[in-house]
């Protein structure tokens, strides 16, 4: 048979070895994209949370909700606090964004695990004529992407923490009349418990993000080592030297 230019169906069949290294970069790109989206959601949460705080403050100023509280000296004081019914309304966008951030975080972890197990879609099969990207270049690019994604994810926890602090303090102020006023110890306890609970939740979420990106980085390292071993064995068997 003469070696004419390959027909389209034959061209489409090329791709196993070509697509293999590309799948590494595709996986890293996917993680970087997810990390970037998570960062946007977290910053959105910060603005939504503090927007809620500002809204509640304005509502308390425009429509004061006075309540009598006992002062330490024994007298009665009047304090204004945002009505409790306004809390869910004012914080609805922040709560929605927080839930979205959680969903994104866990979806990213699932995607990373699928990529590590090899059950994820493993990259597109390139068409003939694409210039081959070198394996080393792919790994370097993937590592750069993962480092940037890790940094971006780490910084996503800052707006998340500050936003949660805003929600915590506003909820505590709104609960003042129920908890015995600003001069009783109950609000401090609520702030403390809330802050500890949020810190624990953030630490747990941070660990999730660490396992997601760190797991993929370890996976990439293992792949690099496996390819090096394969390369050495291939050259030993077929070229007569381990290069």
């Amino acid at each position: 048979m003469r070696g004419a230019a390959p027909s389209p169906p034959d061209r489409a069949r090329v791709g196993g070895i070509v697509a293999a290294p590309r799948s590494v970069l595709d996986g890293a790109k996917d993680l970087a994209r997810r990390s970037h989206r998570l960062s946007w959601i977290c910053w959105g949460f910060l603005y939504a949370a503090w927007g809620g705080v500002v809204l509640l403050t304005l509502l308390a100023l425009v429509f004061p909700n006075w309540s009598a509280t006992l002062e330490p000296g024994g007298g009665l004081g009047m304090t204004s606090s945002p009505p409790l019914v306004d809390l869910p309304l004012a914080f609805a966008p922040a709560i929605a964004l927080f839930c979205w951030a959680l969903r994104e975080l866990f979806a990213s972890r699932r995607a990373a695990r699928a990529a590590i197990r090899g059950t994820a879609a493993n990259g597109r099969a390139p068409s003939a004529g694409d210039v081959a990207p070198g394996w080393t270049q792919q790994v370097v690019d993937a590592q750069k992407l993962l480092t940037a994604a890790k940094l971006e994810t780490d910084w996503s926890f800052l707006p998340l923490g500050i936003g949660l602090l805003g929600v915590d303090s506003t909820v505590t102020v709104a609960l003042n009349p129920i908890l015995g006023g600003p001069f009783s110890n109950a609000p401090y306890f609520v702030v403390g418990v809330g802050a500890v609970a949020f810190c624990m939740a953030l630490y747990f979420l941070y660990r999730v993000a660490e396992s997601w990106i760190g797991g993929f980085q370890q996976h990439l390292d293992l792949q690099v080592r496996a390819v090096s071993a394969l390369e050495a064995e291939f050259l030993w068997r077929f070229a007569g030297s381990p290069a």
């Binding site: 048979m1 003469r2 070696g3 004419a4 230019a5 390959p6 034959d10 061209r11 489409a12 069949r13 090329v14 791709g15 196993g16 070895i17 070509v18 697509a19 293999a20 290294p21 799948s23 590494v24 090899g118 059950t119 879609a121 493993n122 990259g123 597109r124 099969a125 390139p126 003939a128 004529g129 694409d130 210039v131 081959a132 070198g134 394996w135 080393t136 792949q223 496996a226 390819v227 394969l230 390369e231 064995e233 291939f234 050259l235 068997r237 077929f238 070229a239 290069a243």
Partner: protein
């Protein structure tokens, strides 16, 4: 890709590039001319030329008897391709459009 100037001499060959060349030939219906082979392998001309010389020197690819402008896989080339395809599938998992198994090349 570490490639050296002397034809057929490569300092540290990239197995992916070798794999692409072998795969392009293994999945083709028969012996191939150099230009279509270069296109299928997705390599630029310089890299393609060096790696083709390299695999010819290693005896994985040979010119077709009676038609020097055509090249085809030798049994050693088929074995090398299988080794690489199996190894890479083991590392990366099955890839879309994955390795196509073939027997000895047609002459």
């Amino acid at each position: 890709m570490a490639v050296r100037g002397i034809a057929g001499m490569i300092d540290r060959p990239d197995v992916f590039v070798i794999g692409r060349l072998l795969e392009a030939m293994a999945t083709a219906p028969g012996p191939m001319r150099r230009t279509p082979l270069q296109q299928r392998a997705g390599l630029n001309y310089t890299v393609f030329q060096r790696y083709l010389d390299y695999v010819v020197r290693l005896g994985m690819v040979a010119p077709t008897p009676g038609a020097d402008d055509l090249v085809q896989l030798t049994p050693k080339g088929v074995e090398a391709y299988r080794f690489l395809a199996d190894g890479l599938t083991r590392i990366f998992g099955p890839v879309d459009g994955g390795p196509v198994r073939r027997g000895a090349p047609r002459s």
